[in-house]
């Protein structure tokens, strides 16, 4: 299909228009607002037959999505920041009930002080809620992830809710050229929604979300753990199938110029793009550096990541969030992934970009310099006035 110019939010609304979900229930919140605004226009114009519900809050929006999905409807929503935090209770219910709801998260800082710009604190806060989390680098990926997410969540071996994350404002509001795929191809790719049991099936009455005491709860949690184990191979398979119709091949982890690299920096979201620019520049100066874009954060691809990092001299982990009193949330996962390997690189953590603070090329060069000369602390802060 021809290239079009849209921002990330509009691109997600377009993907949903092509998919035509049965139910979208959402509450608008910056920087996600454009997704539900644009999508509600598609509904009003009759371009989709989705039941669109403008909820009174995000907690209600997710509650409605849970009801809709349990009833057997293909369901999507979108949120950001405090909205995601307000859904917190319902996120666990959606995943615990194994409902394949799709949610776009326009990553934004959490109050306080109040801030509307990008960081990953919201998604990291939902890290343990049992949702699959996929991060996109640009508008193209925001669009592609939005389509692939339905196939992943709805896979009969998974049945877990999935969030597709895109950096607030940086991707949600920046106009980029990207290439959508044709409506028919999207429809064919996602297929018909299938449910395991439906609340509306009167011939097979089913109780959803009952009280689960000491005698069953642990087993149901283990079922979720088990479903997460299926995610990585299925995501890879869906990405391969998507490559056939789109020409764009994604992976859960995408190394850039890592073939003979001694040093690497890892990032999720839009910063992964900036990293590539810097890698090219440093490579032209003869430095053996590469970068890694992490697309799948939950489940965390520990083995796959350790395979790439083992034997390197230094690794910088870029965290656009911080766990107060500890480190960035990505850092311990990366270090832990390497623990059992023989040749462990020196791993340093870089906290950056909180509340939308720009990450500058000089700062990323500084990270590579610190890795090469083994300078800096275990946890470092980029761009904050200390």
């Amino acid at each position: 299909m021809e290239r079009v110019a849209m921002n990330g939010d509009q691109a997600i609304a377009l993907a949903w228009k092509q998919i035509n979900p049965d139910v979208v229930a959402a509450y608008p919140i910056t920087p996600q607002t454009i997704i539900v605004e644009a999508f509600s226009e598609y509904v009003a114009d009759g371009l989709v037959d989705t039941e669109y519900v403008c909820a009174e809050s995000e907690h209600s929006a997710m509650s409605m999505c849970i009801g809709a999905s349990a009833a057997g409807a293909r369901t999507a929503t979108a949120t950001a920041s405090a909205g995601l935090a307000f859904m917190w209770e319902m996120l666990y219910i959606a995943s615990g009930m194994r409902l394949p709801i799709i949610m776009a998260v326009a990553n934004r800082a959490l109050s306080g002080p109040i801030n509307i710009h990008c960081d990953h604190s919201d998604a990291m806060g939902a890290r343990d809620s049992g949702w699959i989390q996929i991060f996109g680098e640009n508008v193209q990926e925001a669009y592609d992830n939005a389509i692939m997410a339905f196939r992943i969540a709805e896979h009969m071996d998974i049945r877990l809710p999935t969030m597709t994350c895109l950096d607030g404002f940086i991707i949600t509001h920046s106009l980029e050229r990207f290439e959508p795929i044709l409506d028919d191809e999207v429809k064919k790719f996602v297929g018909e929604f299938r449910y395991k049991r439906s609340l509306l099936d009167v011939k097979n009455p089913t109780t959803f979300g009952p009280f689960d005491w000491t005698d069953y709860y642990f087993e149901h949690k283990y079922q979720q753990v088990d479903a997460m184990r299926h995610v990585i191979p299925i995501v890879k398979q869906v990405q391969e199938e998507y490559a056939k119709i789109s020409g764009r091949k994604y992976d859960i982890i995408e190394p850039y110029r890592m073939e003979d690299a001694d040093y690497a920096v890892i990032a999720m979201g839009s910063t992964a793009g900036t990293l590539k620019e810097i890698v090219d520049e440093l490579r032209s100066e003869g430095k053996k550096v590469g970068s890694i874009k992490l697309r799948l954060f939950r489940p965390f691809p520990s083995k796959e990541l350790a395979d790439i990092l083992e034997g390197l001299k230094g690794v910088g982990v870029m965290d656009r969030a911080i766990s107060m009193g500890a480190t960035g949330p990505l850092f311990p996962e990366v270090r832990s992934a390497l623990y059992e390997r023989k040749e462990r690189p020196n791993v340093k953590n870089y906290i950056y970009g909180l509340g939308g603070r720009d990450i500058r090329p000089e700062e990323i060069k500084h990270v590579y310099k610190q890795l090469i000369y083994d300078e800096g602390e275990t946890v470092n802060f980029l761009g904050v006035r200390i």
Partner: protein, 93 residues
């Protein structure tokens, strides 16, 4: 305690059949059990009316016993009994 393994259960805590609460034996977690002094009972059936677990067995208009599989030992029967013929005794004593 139920014996099913994680892989044997319907996913997400779904219950696939109706009327399954009968299988849920609330009597399992009782610490006190009702015992009736039959010589004092007038069969007024207030215990039957008030029992929240349908655990008072009535036959031909007379109270004939307690269904201990579902009696959770709340003691409402003993509390409501106008002639104080029901006593709650320690389970296992």
């Amino acid at each position: 305690m139920a014996g099913e393994k994680a892989g044997e259960l319907p996913e997400g805590g779904m219950i696939l059949e109706a009327g399954s609460s009968r299988k849920y034996l609330t009597g399992d977690w009782r610490s006190k059990r009702p015992v009736c002094d039959e010589s004092k009972c007038t069969n007024c059936l207030l215990c039957w009316i008030y029992c929240p677990d349908n655990s008072v067995i009535v036959k031909d208009g007379k109270r004939v016993g307690f269904k201990l599989t579902h009696c959770k030992g709340c003691g409402i029967c003993a509390n409501q009994c106008p002639v104080k013929c029901i006593k709650m005794v320690e389970e296992g004593v």
